[in-house]
Protein backbone atom coordinates (compact mmCIF):
# COMPACT_ATOMS: atom_id res chain seq x y z
CA UNK A 1 0.00 0.00 0.00
CA UNK A 2 1.09 3.55 -0.51
CA UNK A 3 0.04 7.00 0.59
CA UNK A 4 1.01 8.56 -2.70
CA UNK A 5 -1.96 10.00 -4.57
CA UNK A 6 -2.35 10.07 -8.31
CA UNK A 7 -1.90 13.85 -8.26
CA UNK A 8 1.36 13.48 -6.36
CA UNK A 9 2.48 10.80 -8.77
CA UNK A 10 1.70 13.08 -11.69
CA UNK A 11 3.97 15.71 -10.21
CA UNK A 12 6.88 13.34 -10.14
CA UNK A 13 6.02 11.21 -13.16
CA UNK A 14 8.38 13.01 -15.55
CA UNK A 15 11.29 12.67 -13.17
CA UNK A 16 10.44 9.03 -12.58
CA UNK A 17 10.33 8.37 -16.31
CA UNK A 18 13.71 10.04 -16.79
CA UNK A 19 15.31 8.18 -13.89
CA UNK A 20 15.86 11.33 -11.86
CA UNK A 21 14.27 10.35 -8.57
CA UNK A 22 16.10 9.35 -5.44
CA UNK A 23 15.78 5.80 -4.23
CA UNK A 24 13.14 6.61 -1.64
CA UNK A 25 10.98 8.68 -4.02
CA UNK A 26 11.33 6.06 -6.67
CA UNK A 27 10.25 3.30 -4.32
CA UNK A 28 7.16 5.28 -3.34
CA UNK A 29 6.30 5.98 -6.94
CA UNK A 30 6.75 2.37 -8.00
CA UNK A 31 4.56 1.22 -5.13
CA UNK A 32 1.80 3.48 -6.43
CA UNK A 33 2.27 2.32 -10.01
CA UNK A 34 1.90 -1.28 -8.90
CA UNK A 35 -1.72 -0.53 -8.01
CA UNK A 36 -2.62 2.15 -10.57
CA UNK A 37 -2.73 1.22 -14.25
CA UNK A 38 -3.58 4.77 -15.34
CA UNK A 39 -0.52 6.25 -13.73
CA UNK A 40 1.49 3.36 -15.10
CA UNK A 41 0.35 4.28 -18.57
CA UNK A 42 1.22 7.93 -17.98
CA UNK A 43 4.74 7.02 -16.90
CA UNK A 44 5.09 4.67 -19.85
CA UNK A 45 4.18 7.51 -22.20
CA UNK A 46 6.65 9.83 -20.52
CA UNK A 47 9.34 7.17 -20.70
CA UNK A 48 8.65 6.97 -24.43
CA UNK A 49 9.37 10.69 -24.60
CA UNK A 50 12.66 10.06 -22.83
CA UNK A 51 13.51 7.35 -25.35
CA UNK A 52 12.52 9.73 -28.12
CA UNK A 53 14.91 12.35 -26.82
CA UNK A 54 17.78 9.91 -27.15
CA UNK A 55 16.68 9.33 -30.73
CA UNK A 56 17.37 13.00 -31.45
CA UNK A 57 21.01 12.71 -30.48
CA UNK A 58 23.00 12.62 -33.72
CA UNK A 59 24.89 9.47 -34.56
CA UNK A 60 28.64 9.76 -34.47
CA UNK A 61 31.14 7.56 -36.26
CA UNK A 62 33.22 5.80 -33.60
CA UNK A 63 37.01 5.73 -33.83
CA UNK A 64 38.64 3.58 -36.46
CA UNK A 65 38.77 -0.06 -35.43
CA UNK A 66 35.81 0.15 -33.06
CA UNK A 67 33.92 -2.62 -34.78
CA UNK A 68 36.87 -4.96 -34.42
CA UNK A 69 37.44 -4.13 -30.80
CA UNK A 70 33.81 -4.93 -30.09
CA UNK A 71 34.19 -8.23 -31.91
CA UNK A 72 37.23 -9.01 -29.82
CA UNK A 73 35.31 -8.14 -26.69
CA UNK A 74 32.51 -10.46 -27.67
CA UNK A 75 35.01 -13.23 -28.18
CA UNK A 76 34.70 -13.57 -31.91
CA UNK A 77 38.44 -13.32 -32.37
CA UNK A 78 41.08 -15.06 -30.37
CA UNK A 79 42.24 -13.23 -27.33
CA UNK A 80 45.95 -12.60 -27.05
CA UNK A 81 47.91 -15.22 -25.25
CA UNK A 82 49.38 -13.49 -22.23
CA UNK A 83 53.11 -13.62 -22.76
CA UNK A 84 54.74 -15.96 -20.31
CA UNK A 85 58.04 -15.97 -22.11
CA UNK A 86 60.08 -13.23 -23.74
CA UNK A 87 58.58 -12.14 -27.02
CA UNK A 88 61.77 -13.03 -28.88
CA UNK A 89 61.26 -16.69 -27.97
CA UNK A 90 57.64 -16.90 -29.01
CA UNK A 91 56.80 -18.59 -32.30
CA UNK A 92 56.04 -16.25 -35.18
CA UNK A 93 52.42 -17.35 -35.54
CA UNK A 94 50.81 -16.80 -32.15
CA UNK A 95 47.42 -17.91 -30.96
CA UNK A 96 45.96 -14.49 -31.47
CA UNK A 97 46.50 -10.80 -31.97
CA UNK A 98 46.86 -8.23 -29.27
CA UNK A 99 43.83 -6.85 -31.05
CA UNK A 100 43.73 -6.01 -34.67
CA UNK A 101 43.09 -2.35 -34.31
CA UNK A 102 43.51 -1.27 -30.76
CA UNK A 103 45.95 1.40 -29.79
CA UNK A 104 49.02 0.23 -28.06
CA UNK A 105 48.26 1.44 -24.59
CA UNK A 106 45.59 -1.00 -23.46
CA UNK A 107 46.98 -3.16 -20.72
CA UNK A 108 46.14 -6.43 -22.38
CA UNK A 109 47.76 -5.27 -25.60
CA UNK A 110 50.90 -3.82 -24.20
CA UNK A 111 53.98 -5.78 -24.90
CA UNK A 112 57.22 -5.75 -23.03
CA UNK A 113 59.31 -2.88 -24.24
CA UNK A 114 61.46 -4.44 -26.90
CA UNK A 115 65.03 -4.17 -28.00
CA UNK A 116 64.48 -2.99 -31.49
CA UNK A 117 67.18 -4.69 -33.50
CA UNK A 118 66.48 -8.15 -32.25
CA UNK A 119 62.75 -8.07 -31.79
CA UNK A 120 61.21 -6.05 -34.58
CA UNK A 121 61.04 -8.67 -37.31
CA UNK A 122 59.69 -11.36 -35.03
CA UNK A 123 57.26 -9.14 -33.23
CA UNK A 124 56.00 -7.58 -36.43
CA UNK A 125 55.63 -10.94 -38.10
CA UNK A 126 53.78 -12.24 -35.10
CA UNK A 127 51.53 -9.24 -35.08
CA UNK A 128 50.85 -9.45 -38.78
CA UNK A 129 50.18 -13.14 -38.61
CA UNK A 130 47.85 -12.43 -35.76
CA UNK A 131 46.11 -9.69 -37.68
CA UNK A 132 45.65 -11.86 -40.71
CA UNK A 133 44.58 -14.87 -38.68
CA UNK A 134 42.19 -12.66 -36.83
CA UNK A 135 40.55 -11.48 -40.01
CA UNK A 136 40.41 -14.98 -41.31
CA UNK A 137 38.61 -15.98 -38.18
CA UNK A 138 35.48 -13.93 -38.74
CA UNK A 139 35.74 -11.30 -41.39
CA UNK A 140 37.05 -13.35 -44.22
CA UNK A 141 35.80 -16.67 -43.06
CA UNK A 142 38.99 -18.51 -43.82
CA UNK A 143 42.57 -18.57 -42.67
CA UNK A 144 44.47 -19.76 -45.65
CA UNK A 145 47.95 -21.12 -45.93
CA UNK A 146 49.16 -18.37 -48.29
CA UNK A 147 48.38 -15.88 -45.58
CA UNK A 148 50.46 -17.83 -43.12
CA UNK A 149 53.16 -17.86 -45.69
CA UNK A 150 53.01 -14.13 -45.99
CA UNK A 151 53.50 -13.77 -42.29
CA UNK A 152 56.42 -16.13 -42.36
CA UNK A 153 58.03 -14.12 -45.07
CA UNK A 154 57.54 -11.04 -43.02
CA UNK A 155 59.36 -12.77 -40.19
CA UNK A 156 62.40 -12.92 -42.37
CA UNK A 157 62.08 -9.26 -43.28
CA UNK A 158 61.57 -7.78 -46.70
CA UNK A 159 58.48 -7.92 -48.81
CA UNK A 160 55.70 -10.31 -47.99
CA UNK A 161 53.33 -12.03 -50.34
CA UNK A 162 52.65 -9.55 -53.12
CA UNK A 163 49.01 -10.50 -53.45
CA UNK A 164 48.14 -10.07 -49.81
CA UNK A 165 50.62 -8.20 -47.74
CA UNK A 166 53.09 -5.44 -48.45
CA UNK A 167 55.59 -4.22 -45.92
CA UNK A 168 57.82 -1.21 -45.76
CA UNK A 169 60.30 0.21 -43.31
CA UNK A 170 59.25 3.31 -41.43
CA UNK A 171 62.10 5.79 -41.66
CA UNK A 172 62.65 8.88 -39.58
CA UNK A 173 63.80 12.20 -41.01
CA UNK A 174 67.41 11.30 -40.27
CA UNK A 175 67.07 8.05 -42.19
CA UNK A 176 66.89 5.74 -39.20
CA UNK A 177 64.52 2.79 -39.27
CA UNK A 178 61.92 3.45 -36.60
CA UNK A 179 59.46 0.69 -37.35
CA UNK A 180 57.60 -1.14 -40.04
CA UNK A 181 54.26 -0.80 -41.80
CA UNK A 182 52.21 -3.58 -43.29
CA UNK A 183 49.44 -3.08 -45.79
CA UNK A 184 47.09 -6.01 -46.16
CA UNK A 185 45.49 -5.89 -49.56
CA UNK A 186 42.65 -8.29 -49.00
CA UNK A 187 39.07 -7.46 -48.31
CA UNK A 188 38.76 -5.72 -45.92
CA UNK A 189 42.09 -4.02 -46.36
CA UNK A 190 44.16 -3.36 -43.27
CA UNK A 191 47.18 -1.40 -42.24
CA UNK A 192 49.28 -2.39 -39.27
CA UNK A 193 52.40 -0.82 -37.91
CA UNK A 194 54.93 -1.01 -35.17
CA UNK A 195 56.73 2.17 -34.26
CA UNK A 196 59.58 3.00 -31.94
CA UNK A 197 60.44 6.63 -32.24
CA UNK A 198 62.04 9.09 -29.88
CA UNK A 199 61.07 7.94 -26.42
CA UNK A 200 58.25 10.44 -26.04
CA UNK A 201 54.70 9.60 -25.05
CA UNK A 202 52.51 11.32 -27.56
CA UNK A 203 49.49 11.01 -29.81
CA UNK A 204 50.46 10.40 -33.42
CA UNK A 205 48.42 10.27 -36.58
CA UNK A 206 48.72 7.79 -39.38
CA UNK A 207 48.19 8.91 -42.94
CA UNK A 208 48.29 6.89 -46.13
CA UNK A 209 49.67 8.31 -49.35
CA UNK A 210 47.97 7.40 -52.57
CA UNK A 211 49.33 7.38 -56.04
CA UNK A 212 48.98 10.94 -57.30
CA UNK A 213 49.95 12.44 -53.95
CA UNK A 214 46.65 12.34 -52.07
CA UNK A 215 47.13 11.93 -48.33
CA UNK A 216 44.34 10.18 -46.39
CA UNK A 217 44.25 10.21 -42.57
CA UNK A 218 43.18 6.85 -41.15
CA UNK A 219 43.45 7.31 -37.42
CA UNK A 220 45.58 8.07 -34.43
CA UNK A 221 47.18 6.15 -31.63
CA UNK A 222 49.44 6.73 -28.68
CA UNK A 223 53.12 6.07 -28.53
CA UNK A 224 54.11 5.20 -24.99
CA UNK A 225 57.70 6.22 -24.40
CA UNK A 226 58.09 6.22 -28.13
CA UNK A 227 56.69 2.75 -28.70
CA UNK A 228 53.38 1.67 -30.09
CA UNK A 229 51.72 -0.78 -32.41
CA UNK A 230 48.43 -0.11 -34.09
CA UNK A 231 46.27 -1.33 -36.89
CA UNK A 232 43.12 -0.22 -38.62
CA UNK A 233 40.98 -0.98 -41.57
CA UNK A 234 41.95 1.03 -44.60
CA UNK A 235 39.27 3.24 -46.10
CA UNK A 236 40.96 3.39 -49.50
CA UNK A 237 41.84 0.94 -52.24
CA UNK A 238 45.04 -0.70 -51.01
CA UNK A 239 46.27 -1.00 -54.58
CA UNK A 240 46.55 2.78 -54.74
CA UNK A 241 48.57 3.08 -51.52
CA UNK A 242 52.19 3.97 -52.13
CA UNK A 243 53.24 5.05 -48.67
CA UNK A 244 52.40 5.83 -45.08
CA UNK A 245 53.31 8.67 -42.75
CA UNK A 246 53.34 9.08 -39.00
CA UNK A 247 52.58 12.67 -38.07
CA UNK A 248 52.78 14.39 -34.71
CA UNK A 249 50.02 16.47 -33.18
CA UNK A 250 51.64 19.64 -34.51
CA UNK A 251 51.69 18.30 -38.06
CA UNK A 252 55.35 17.40 -38.09
CA UNK A 253 56.06 14.31 -40.19
CA UNK A 254 57.86 11.96 -37.81
CA UNK A 255 58.36 8.98 -40.09
CA UNK A 256 57.55 7.84 -43.59
CA UNK A 257 57.34 4.53 -45.40
CA UNK A 258 57.22 3.76 -49.10
CA UNK A 259 55.71 0.55 -50.38
Amino acid sequence: MTDLTCAALHDMAAELALGMLSGHERAEALAHLATCPDCRERVRELAAVGDGLLGLVPGVEPPVGFEDRVMDRLGFTPRPAQPTQPIEQRPPAPAGPPTRSTGSTGPENRRPRPRRRTWVPIAVAAAVAAVVFGMGGWALGTASQPVTGAASQAAGGGRADDDQLASADLMSGDHQQVGEVFSYEGNPAWVYMVVELNGKTQEVYCQLEQRGGTVVPIGSFTLTKGYGHWGASSPIDPNTVVGARIVGADGTVLATANF
Partner: protein, 203 residues
Amino acid sequence: MGIPVDRLPDETLLAGLATGDAEIAVAFVRRFQRPVFGVAVAVLGDTRLAEDVAQQTFERAWRHAQVYDSRRGSVRTWLSTIAHNLAIDVARARRPTPVDPGDLDALLGVVLDTPERHTMARESAAELRAELAQLPREQARAVVMAGIYGMTAKQIAEFEQIPLGTAKTRIRMAMGKLRVALWHLQRPAGSTPPAARKRADHD
Protein backbone atom coordinates in the same frame (compact mmCIF):
# COMPACT_ATOMS: atom_id res chain seq x y z
CA MET B 1 20.05 -17.97 -51.28
CA GLY B 2 18.73 -15.97 -48.33
CA ILE B 3 18.56 -12.31 -47.49
CA PRO B 4 22.01 -10.77 -47.11
CA VAL B 5 22.81 -10.31 -43.45
CA ASP B 6 23.12 -6.57 -43.79
CA ARG B 7 19.55 -6.37 -44.98
CA LEU B 8 18.01 -8.38 -42.19
CA PRO B 9 15.47 -6.51 -40.03
CA ASP B 10 16.85 -5.09 -36.81
CA GLU B 11 14.99 -7.56 -34.63
CA THR B 12 16.16 -10.52 -36.66
CA LEU B 13 19.72 -9.32 -36.48
CA LEU B 14 19.45 -8.96 -32.73
CA ALA B 15 17.95 -12.41 -32.40
CA GLY B 16 20.78 -13.73 -34.56
CA LEU B 17 23.32 -12.45 -32.06
CA ALA B 18 22.39 -15.28 -29.74
CA THR B 19 23.48 -17.80 -32.35
CA GLY B 20 27.07 -16.73 -32.04
CA ASP B 21 27.29 -16.11 -35.76
CA ALA B 22 30.18 -13.72 -36.31
CA GLU B 23 28.82 -12.40 -39.57
CA ILE B 24 25.59 -11.40 -37.87
CA ALA B 25 27.44 -9.84 -34.98
CA VAL B 26 29.54 -7.73 -37.34
CA ALA B 27 26.46 -6.60 -39.22
CA PHE B 28 24.75 -5.75 -35.94
CA VAL B 29 27.65 -3.66 -34.66
CA ARG B 30 28.06 -1.97 -38.01
CA ARG B 31 24.40 -1.01 -38.17
CA PHE B 32 24.12 0.47 -34.70
CA GLN B 33 27.56 1.75 -33.83
CA ARG B 34 26.84 5.34 -34.88
CA PRO B 35 23.74 5.91 -32.72
CA VAL B 36 25.28 4.04 -29.78
CA PHE B 37 28.54 5.95 -29.92
CA GLY B 38 26.63 9.17 -30.57
CA VAL B 39 24.68 8.85 -27.34
CA ALA B 40 27.76 7.91 -25.36
CA VAL B 41 29.88 10.75 -26.65
CA ALA B 42 27.04 13.26 -26.24
CA VAL B 43 26.72 12.40 -22.57
CA LEU B 44 30.40 12.02 -21.79
CA GLY B 45 32.07 14.44 -24.18
CA ASP B 46 35.11 12.20 -24.20
CA THR B 47 35.87 9.88 -27.08
CA ARG B 48 37.76 7.28 -25.10
CA LEU B 49 35.21 6.99 -22.33
CA ALA B 50 32.47 6.95 -24.94
CA GLU B 51 34.12 4.13 -26.81
CA ASP B 52 34.31 2.03 -23.68
CA VAL B 53 30.65 2.68 -22.97
CA ALA B 54 29.73 1.86 -26.56
CA GLN B 55 31.69 -1.39 -26.36
CA GLN B 56 29.94 -2.29 -23.11
CA THR B 57 26.62 -1.52 -24.76
CA PHE B 58 27.18 -4.08 -27.48
CA GLU B 59 28.44 -6.58 -24.96
CA ARG B 60 25.26 -6.18 -22.93
CA ALA B 61 23.09 -6.41 -26.01
CA TRP B 62 24.88 -9.59 -26.97
CA ARG B 63 24.46 -11.09 -23.50
CA HIS B 64 20.87 -10.00 -23.05
CA ALA B 65 19.46 -10.12 -26.56
CA GLN B 66 16.77 -12.49 -25.40
CA VAL B 67 15.23 -9.92 -23.04
CA TYR B 68 14.60 -7.40 -25.80
CA ASP B 69 10.87 -6.80 -26.28
CA SER B 70 9.93 -5.16 -29.56
CA ARG B 71 6.66 -3.93 -28.06
CA ARG B 72 8.64 -1.60 -25.83
CA GLY B 73 10.61 0.10 -28.56
CA SER B 74 12.91 -0.38 -31.48
CA VAL B 75 16.29 -2.10 -31.28
CA ARG B 76 17.92 1.26 -31.81
CA THR B 77 15.98 2.72 -28.90
CA TRP B 78 16.87 -0.24 -26.72
CA LEU B 79 20.56 0.09 -27.50
CA SER B 80 20.47 3.86 -27.05
CA THR B 81 18.91 3.40 -23.65
CA ILE B 82 21.57 0.89 -22.61
CA ALA B 83 24.31 3.23 -23.82
CA HIS B 84 22.65 6.15 -22.09
CA ASN B 85 22.37 4.40 -18.74
CA LEU B 86 25.97 3.26 -18.88
CA ALA B 87 27.18 6.70 -19.89
CA ILE B 88 25.23 8.40 -17.11
CA ASP B 89 26.77 6.02 -14.59
CA VAL B 90 30.24 6.90 -15.85
CA ALA B 91 29.48 10.61 -15.93
CA ARG B 92 28.13 10.63 -12.40
CA ALA B 93 31.15 8.74 -11.14
CA ARG B 94 33.61 11.05 -12.81
CA ARG B 95 32.28 14.56 -12.90
CA PRO B 96 30.72 16.77 -10.26
CA THR B 97 29.22 18.89 -13.04
CA PRO B 98 27.54 16.63 -15.57
CA VAL B 99 27.67 18.97 -18.51
CA ASP B 100 29.88 21.59 -20.01
CA PRO B 101 27.82 24.69 -20.88
CA GLY B 102 29.31 24.76 -24.36
CA ASP B 103 28.44 21.11 -24.92
CA LEU B 104 24.87 21.75 -23.78
CA ASP B 105 24.41 24.62 -26.22
CA ALA B 106 25.90 22.59 -29.05
CA LEU B 107 23.65 19.61 -28.36
CA LEU B 108 20.62 21.85 -28.00
CA GLY B 109 21.43 23.32 -31.38
CA VAL B 110 21.41 19.85 -32.89
CA VAL B 111 18.32 18.43 -31.23
CA LEU B 112 16.32 21.60 -31.89
CA ASP B 113 17.46 21.73 -35.49
CA THR B 114 14.68 22.19 -38.00
CA PRO B 115 13.08 19.02 -39.34
CA GLU B 116 13.93 19.93 -42.93
CA ARG B 117 17.49 18.97 -42.22
CA HIS B 118 16.40 15.54 -41.08
CA THR B 119 14.27 14.24 -43.86
CA MET B 120 15.49 10.73 -43.21
CA ALA B 121 14.39 10.81 -39.60
CA ARG B 122 11.41 8.81 -38.51
CA GLU B 123 8.19 10.71 -38.34
CA SER B 124 7.96 10.51 -34.56
CA ALA B 125 11.50 11.81 -34.19
CA ALA B 126 10.74 14.71 -36.50
CA GLU B 127 7.57 15.44 -34.58
CA LEU B 128 9.35 15.31 -31.25
CA ARG B 129 12.11 17.52 -32.55
CA ALA B 130 9.60 20.05 -33.82
CA GLU B 131 7.72 20.00 -30.53
CA LEU B 132 10.92 20.42 -28.58
CA ALA B 133 11.77 23.44 -30.70
CA GLN B 134 8.39 24.95 -29.80
CA LEU B 135 9.09 24.80 -26.09
CA PRO B 136 10.28 27.85 -24.22
CA ARG B 137 14.05 27.74 -24.35
CA GLU B 138 14.45 27.22 -20.62
CA GLN B 139 12.13 24.21 -20.73
CA ALA B 140 13.98 22.73 -23.69
CA ARG B 141 17.25 23.18 -21.84
CA ALA B 142 15.86 21.52 -18.75
CA VAL B 143 14.52 18.54 -20.60
CA VAL B 144 17.77 18.03 -22.51
CA MET B 145 19.78 18.29 -19.32
CA ALA B 146 17.53 15.76 -17.64
CA GLY B 147 16.75 13.45 -20.53
CA ILE B 148 20.11 13.34 -22.28
CA TYR B 149 22.72 14.38 -19.74
CA GLY B 150 20.94 12.57 -16.93
CA MET B 151 21.12 15.53 -14.57
CA THR B 152 18.97 15.53 -11.45
CA ALA B 153 16.55 18.37 -10.75
CA LYS B 154 18.94 19.62 -8.06
CA GLN B 155 21.83 19.70 -10.52
CA ILE B 156 19.72 21.52 -13.07
CA ALA B 157 18.66 24.05 -10.46
CA GLU B 158 22.29 24.70 -9.54
CA PHE B 159 23.41 24.80 -13.14
CA GLU B 160 20.68 27.25 -14.15
CA GLN B 161 20.84 29.11 -10.82
CA ILE B 162 17.12 28.73 -10.24
CA PRO B 163 15.07 27.33 -7.33
CA LEU B 164 14.67 23.57 -7.21
CA GLY B 165 10.91 23.89 -7.62
CA THR B 166 11.37 25.90 -10.79
CA ALA B 167 13.65 23.26 -12.25
CA LYS B 168 11.11 20.55 -11.47
CA THR B 169 8.32 22.61 -13.00
CA ARG B 170 10.26 23.16 -16.21
CA ILE B 171 10.94 19.46 -16.54
CA ARG B 172 7.36 18.50 -15.78
CA MET B 173 5.83 21.03 -18.17
CA ALA B 174 8.21 20.21 -20.98
CA MET B 175 7.75 16.48 -20.63
CA GLY B 176 3.98 16.90 -20.43
CA LYS B 177 3.86 18.81 -23.71
CA LEU B 178 6.12 16.32 -25.44
CA ARG B 179 4.04 13.44 -24.15
CA VAL B 180 0.88 14.89 -25.61
CA ALA B 181 2.62 15.54 -28.92
CA LEU B 182 3.88 11.98 -29.16
CA TRP B 183 0.53 10.63 -28.11
CA HIS B 184 -1.24 12.44 -30.97
CA LEU B 185 1.22 10.96 -33.38
CA GLN B 186 0.93 7.39 -32.21
CA ARG B 187 -2.78 7.02 -31.41
CA PRO B 188 -5.66 6.64 -33.87
CA ALA B 189 -8.02 9.54 -34.42
CA GLY B 190 -10.90 9.61 -31.96
CA SER B 191 -8.91 8.35 -28.97
CA THR B 192 -9.09 10.34 -25.78
CA PRO B 193 -5.98 12.51 -25.50
CA PRO B 194 -3.84 12.39 -22.36
CA ALA B 195 -4.93 15.80 -21.07
CA ALA B 196 -8.60 14.79 -21.24
CA ARG B 197 -7.86 11.42 -19.66
CA LYS B 198 -6.12 13.16 -16.85
CA ARG B 199 -9.29 15.01 -15.94
CA ALA B 200 -11.65 12.15 -16.69
CA ASP B 201 -10.04 9.30 -14.90
CA HIS B 202 -8.69 9.31 -11.44
CA ASP B 203 -7.51 12.78 -10.53
